[in-house]
């Protein structure tokens, strides 16, 4: 339905351009008997196919609506820090990404003497691990998933002093 006035590589009209196309949509030649080969190389960042899965746009669009409304309402989550006497709350919507969130947490908990240790050294802080509890109740390391997905799945934040947790990460670096 988009006007195909822009040049791009690929068969006409078959791709909703959400991500760059990695494999052209495979159409079997008449003498090819199987499309199962298509299945073998499935890169994770695959181009979205038009109209698939077959969910009516009415059902789809409203989630964007829902998300936007939630945007305006704010996404407050509790933040706990091991050893701190009380918890804080932050509005995740105030931050554009992980970096800003970490900085904000540093500022928040800077009031505690422990806060000096919460430094930003490259990607990870030295002594602390920041984790969050997701919708399923699992404790997840901060930063693995895209920010938007994190926004919708984070229920609580936890700043951990757990040495073991730190060690694992140090080893896997």
């Amino acid at each position: 339905m988009d006007n195909d006035t822009e040049l791009r590589l690929g068969l006409p009209g078959s791709v909703e351009v959400k991500k760059p196309r990695e494999t052209p949509q495979k159409r079997s030649s008449p003498d090819c008997t199987s499309v199962e080969d298509d299945n073998l190389d499935r890169p994770s960042a695959k181009a979205q196919i038009v109209g698939w899965p077959p969910v009516r746009s009415y059902m789809k669009n409203n989630f964007h609506l829902m998300k936007n409304k939630a945007d305006m309402a704010g996404r407050y989550v509790k933040v706990s820090m091991d050893g701190a006497p009380y918890l804080r709350k932050v509005d995740l919507k105030n931050y554009k990404g992980y970096k800003e969130l970490r900085e904000a947490l540093e500022n928040l908990f800077g009031c505690f003497s422990l806060g000096e240790i919460l430094r930003m050294d490259g990607k990870y802080s030295m002594e602390y691990t920041i984790a969050y509890e997701d919708k399923d109740g699992d404790l997840m390391l901060l930063g693995d998933v895209p920010w938007e997905i994190f926004l919708s799945s984070c229920k609580k934040l936890r700043i951990m002093t757990d040495a073991l947790g730190n060690k694992d990460r140090e080893d896997s670096k």
């Binding site: 078959s14 499309v35 077959p54 009415y58």
Partner: protein, 623 residues
């Protein structure tokens, strides 16, 4: 139940199945509205015959099933005339199958019209904008001929404000306007309907797309007459623009017959409570957003939802629940036991949040939900909703690579608990043949089985085998099956089974399946009741298309996109079948291209008494 109408698929209706199926080669189509019959305009019969005809007319008044009526009209000329005089509902499954003037000439006393337009795959953006299905020529014909028209129901039609104005001006007794998946109109048209259709009982706008610009929105709710109205149903959750809430509240207050009300997302819980107070007699309620409209985090102390729901003892159907804040769900506990239909498909709920609600819904027959509830949530459904007839599980994240929380495990639970299941639509990422087989055995009453494994070509997640065996079991064991949608890794074998056992199937949807022409052949040759066949991205070519030539007159339509068709094959079909319209649709073509591309990207063919349509846009080529 009203919910079935939102789908408006004949397969979901009960009691509409053919009571007899003539197996004459010409008349295998038993749900065609205007079947072949004697020419119109015969000379009137002699006197004694006229008495017989009057008697006949009186009897035929009681005949409501359109299939029975089609059969009756084929008996002889006299019956044909009598049937034409007494038909009150006109059903046209494909607006291009017959010309408006012809329908209007044959049936002169119509009170209710049901008209369908675009092929279903238009819902998934496969039909370019501007393809057709304009209501205009129809409304003009009806306006001139059917003074007593009371009801219009349209699905996938293009309807303009002008068309709505013609409705308002032409039919003084007009009562019921139902628009499903339509587009082209705006709040301006709604205002005209509200204002001028003084006897309006039903205004149901279901999944339509309105054309409003932000600054041109009309306050249509205020246009209803100030007096007591006869409104029974007002559904407008798809009208996404804001509206005058106070006017709605007043309207509800002066509509004592109102039973069904579904509002859009501009209504929060405080407002909902006010509406419910005005209409405690409601049977069907679509909430707006299911959260407090007050400042975030604050709950309005006046929000006494519990008593609002407690007072609505007639509620049997709940929907809406957008932007749900689960802490408000306990308010609906008092009425859960009365519910026969619950639509949570806009509510992002976990199993934990669903549980206390669903455990109270013992009488539920229709349940729509998001896969966010997971297999665990479906287990609760299976354990409680023993009377469930229809289940739809939609994906929270409708993309191919998404992580769905429902799987074969959830399907297995449902099959074990909901033995009376008739209709299922199930989106998932992981499925096994075993679960599908189990469902085929546990739920023998299945009429509609639609499984969508979102990842393309995915096999059985445990055995790694194609999903052929599962679908085989479905067509073998579910002897009442009339509608089937397949998915997952499927070989031609699956189609062989479908052709062999799926003798009652009327609607079949295929995507990313099959190996060769043989697959499609099996279906065309085997499924004798097939009416609607829609296929995408499957390796079926000209040979299989041509193999279907003997059957296309018995079908309403065939859609094939991103298959292996070429102009040669399509032209041969067009050449051989004069009453078939063969449309080749291309994307993004503005003007006629001189050079004809041999490969056919999209084919839409349908039987028609009207011949090639004259309103086709440039990107549609009719062969």
């Amino acid at each position: 139940m009203r919910e079935e109408i939102s789908d408006m698929s004949e397969d979901d209706e009960t009691g509409e199945r053919a009571r007899w199926a003539p197996d004459l080669s010409k008349n295998r189509s038993d749900d065609s509205d205007s079947g072949p019959g004697p020419p119109i305009g015969d000379s009137p019969p002699p006197f004694s015959d006229q008495i017989l005809e009057n008697v006949l007319e009186n009897v035929l008044e009681f005949l409501t099933s359109r299939r029975d009526r089609n059969s009756a009209s084929a008996v002889c000329r006299s019956w044909y005339r009598a049937e034409a005089q007494t038909r009150r509902e006109l059903f046209i499954g494909n607006c291009y199958a017959v010309a408006p003037h012809r329908a209007v000439e044959r049936f002169q006393s119509i009170k209710s019209v049901v008209l369908k337009g675009k092929p279903r795959f238009a819902d998934f953006n496969l039909v370019p904008f501007g393809w057709g299905a304009h209501f205009e020529p129809w409304v003009k014909s009806f306006g001139a001929a059917y003074r007593h028209l009371e009801r219009i129901c349209l699905k996938r039609m293009s309807v303009t404000d002008k068309d709505l104005t013609i409705i308002a001006e032409s039919f003084p007794l007009f009562k019921d306007l139902t628009l499903i998946c339509c587009e082209g109109f705006s709040t301006f048209g709604l205002a005209v309907i509200a204002e001028r259709c003084r006897h309006l009982r039903v205004l149901d706008l279901i999944e339509d797309y309105l054309e409003d610009e932000d600054d041109e929105v009309v306050d249509w709710i205020s246009r209803f007459p100030e007096t007591t109205t006869s409104l029974e149903s007002l559904v407008f959750d798809c009208v996404s623009c804001p509206f005058n809430f106070d006017a709605l509240e007043r309207l509800v207050a002066r509509s004592p017959s109102l039973q069904r009300l579904r509002v859009n997302h501009h209504v929060a819980l405080e407002q909902l409570r006010r509406l419910m107070a005005r209409a405690p007699q409601l049977t069907h309620l679509g909430t707006g957003t299911f959260r407090s409209g007050a400042g975030f985090g604050e709950v309005d102390p006046n929000l006494d939802l519990v008593s609002a729901f407690g007072a609505s003892r007639s509620l049997v159907c709940l929907s809406g629940f957008r932007e749900i804040e689960p802490e408000f769900l306990p308010a609906i506990y008092p009425i859960c036991a009365n519910l026969t239909s619950l639509n949570f498909s806009f509510a992002n709920l976990t199993a934990e949040e669903l549980n206390p609600v669903i455990r109270r819904c013992h009488n539920l027959q229709t349940f729509w939900v998001l896969d966010s509830v997971g297999d665990e949530g479906l287990q609760a459904v299976a354990e409680t909703c023993r009377d469930l007839r229809e289940l739809r599980v939609f994906p929270l994240d409708p993309s191919e690579d998404s992580d769905s929380s429902v799987s074969d495990i959830g399907l297995q639970f449902i099959s074990e608990g909901c033995r009376k299941l008739r209709s299922i639509l199930y989106f998932c990422q992981r499925m096994t043949n075993a679960a599908v087989v189990a469902m085929s055995k546990n739920c023998p009453d299945l009429v509609v089985f639609r499984l969508c494994i979102m990842g393309r070509h995915l096999p059985d997640r445990i055995t790694g085998e194609p999903m052929d065996a599962g679908f085989r079991a479905i067509v073998m064991n579910c002897k009442k099956l009339t509608r089937l949608s397949v998915s997952g890794l499927l070989t031609d074998k699956a189609f062989e089974y479908i052709g062999c056992y799926g003798k009652l199937i009327r609607t079949l949807s295929v995507a990313f399946a099959g190996d060769s022409d043989g697959g499609l052949r099996y279906v065309l040759e085997g499924c004798t009741r097939l009416q609607k066949l829609e296929i995408r991205d499957s390796p079926f070519g000209d040979a299989s298309l041509i193999s279907g030539l003997p059957f296309y007159y018995n079908m309403r339509f065939l859609w094939m996109s991103s298959c292996n068709l070429s102009m040669r094959g399509c032209k041969e079909v067009a050449r051989n079948k004069p009453n078939l319209v063969v449309e080749v649709i291309r994307d993004g073509v503005e003007e006629e291209e001189e050079e004809e591309i041999e490969a056919v990207e999209k084919l839409y063919l349908y039987r028609s008494l009207a011949g090639a349509r004259t309103d086709a846009p440039a990107f549609v080529k009719i062969l």
